[in-house]
């Protein structure tokens, strides 16, 4: 929690970060070059902003309440489960404040760490895990999340 506490003061935001592009998308997501999460989000048909692939690039700045979608894959203990790009994004206090829920991507074959990154963020930011899906999601997952998000924003 220490990093979050420090970053609650905007002036100490990490590594002299440059302000990144602002986004008013209701869905913000991270997807690695495998594009699995990207494909899932594209199927939802709602405006969505993708975080930069490289941590050194300026991260996004949310300007309205949003839901975060992110993958977890393959660790034993979950150490480093949250991608660094997402950590950087959430170390921005405004981004953290506007976060309303998390959707996790993963694979049940990873056992206890299935969608762990979503659980970690939900716990740290006190928001619910809205949904979990595997790899790039089935059509049922797309339907459920589309419907769930519609109701969530009402």
């Amino acid at each position: 929690m220490s990093a979050l506490a420090v970053d609650d003061q905007p002036s100490t935001s990490p590594v002299g970060d440059v302000e990144g592009p602002a986004t008013d998308a209701p869905l913000i997501y991270f997807s690695s070059v495998s594009d699995n999460t990207h494909r899932f989000v594209m199927k939802l048909g709602v405006p969505a902003a993708r975080m930069p692939l490289l941590t050194k690039e300026p991260t996004l700045q949310a300007t309205r309440p949003y839901v975060l979608v992110l993958p977890t894959y393959g660790g034993i203990t979950g150490k480093g489960a949250v991608p660094r790009q997402v950590v950087k994004f959430l170390n921005n206090e405004r981004n953290r404040t506007l976060l309303k829920g998390v959707i996790g991507a993963g694979n049940t074959n990873f056992g206890e760490t299935y969608c762990l990154a979503a659980d970690i963020i939900a716990a740290k930011c006190h928001v619910p895990v809205l949904y979990r899906f595997e790899v790039m999601g089935t059509s049922e997952d797309v339907d459920r999340v589309t419907k769930g998000l519609e109701e969530f924003w009402i």
């Binding site: 929690m1 220490s2 990093a3 979050l4 990490p14 590594v15 690695s32 070059v33 495998s34 594009d35 699995n36 494909r39 941590t55 894959y73 393959g74 660790g75 034993i76 979950g78 150490k79 480093g80 489960a81 949250v82 660094r84 950590v87 950087k88 170390n91 829920g101 694979n107 049940t108 074959n109 990873f110 056992g111 206890e112 299935y114 969608c115 762990l116 659980d119 970690i120 939900a122 716990a123 740290k124 930011c125 006190h126 928001v127 619910p128 895990v129 809205l130 949904y131 979990r132 595997e134 790899v135 790039m136 089935t138 059509s139 049922e140 459920r144 999340v145 419907k147 769930g148 969530f152």
Partner: protein, 324 residues
């Protein structure tokens, strides 16, 4: 192998300080961090539990594990090795050598289970069964034939289907025992194997998709058709194999749902849409939760009853997650 193995044409010193594909490094690190050996798992704690299984159940378990041993042997000595000459980066070659080695660890793990639980006679009988079961041999031969083909992308398809689909008729059983509080240490070991196979399937499927990027639309269609044809061929055989194994204990239908569920994930690892509808992928919740305690839908806000989720449940996190 009778034919001469194709080797990489030219070898240059591998430079890990110049990376073409970051995924190679990610996956290498993941595999190294996940490294394990069967000696770490206290299998002998399952001896008492083993004695509570009926002779039929013991025989089924032995057969399932010899089947898995055969597939891991194929993957270690033919599959992963056959992918090395197709690698497009030197780091991909290195990852594949790691995968090949871990498949040998997996194959050896089943022998650790056998020697802990069964007599030499029972072990020999199970291995004999594995060489005589038509559907098991056919499964291994189908995949091996594709590995020997001359198309690098088709080899990746065969490999991903093996890693992400063909193991699961076998993986079902230790999850089933675990859900009934039996052979729980054996299940812990198998979960380590499942986790490794998931990384392997993800990585090889990813490399397949990278290979598709430069392909013509016709070539893409050819590979898609090929993937689905191979999946159907393997699926039909897998259903027969499942009946061979599980009819005696009445679990075949339950296992088939698990096959469908995993076939969908194998397709997704290759970048294709899931094929089996949710009406036939509704895996027994006890099996899913033996696989992953987080798989319970009731933890989700959208799909749960609404009353069961809790905001901000305690999670042990590493400070490293939030510290850069």
């Amino acid at each position: 192998m009778s034919e001469k193995l194709k080797l990489v044409d030219q070898v240059q010193a591998i430079n890990w300080n110049r990376i073409q594909d970051d995924k190679d490094v990610d996956v290498w690190n993941r595999l190294v961090n996940n490294f394990w050996l069967p000696e770490k798992v206290p299998l002998s704690n399952d001896v008492q539990s083993w004695a509570t299984l009926t002779p039929d159940e013991q025989q089924l378990t032995m057969r399932v594990f010899t089947g898995l041993t055969l597939l891991d042997t194929v993957q270690a000595t033919v599959g992963a090795v056959s992918l090395i000459p197709d690698a497009v980066t030197p780091h991909e070659e290195a990852v594949l050598t790691n995968i090949a080695f871990m498949e040998s660890v997996h194959a050896k793990s089943y022998s650790s289970i056998f020697s802990t639980l069964a007599s030499t006679k029972e072990i020999d009988e199970a291995f004999r069964w594995s060489t005589e079961n038509v559907n098991l041999q056919k499964k291994a031969n189908i995949v091996t034939d594709y590995y020997r083909g001359d198309d690098p992308l088709k080899r990746k398809v065969a490999s991903t289907l093996l890693e992400s689909f063909l193991f699961y008729s076998g993986f079902y059983l230790p999850m089933y025992w675990s859900s009934r509080a039996k052979l729980t240490n054996t299940a812990d070991l198998v979960r380590l194997i499942i986790r490794d196979e998931a990384v392997h399937g993800y990585y090889i499927g990813y490399k397949f998709q990278r290979g598709l990027e430069s392909a013509t639309p016709e070539r893409r269609q050819e590979l898609k058709d090929y993937t689905f044809e191979l999946l159907f061929e393997l699926y039909e055989n897998e259903v027969q194999y499942t009946h061979d194994l599980y009819d005696s204990v009445g679990l075949a239908e339950d296992v088939k749902k698990f096959l469908h569920y995993n076939a969908n994930k194998a397709l997704m690892n290759l970048g294709y849409e899931a094929m089996f509808p949710s009406s036939v992928t509704d895996v027994n919740p006890a099996i899913l939760s033996a696989l992953s305690p987080n798989a319970d839908e009731n933890h989700d806000f959208f799909s749960g009853s609404g009353s069961s989720y809790v905001i901000g449940k305690a999670v042990n996190t590493e400070d490293e997650d939030w510290d850069f």
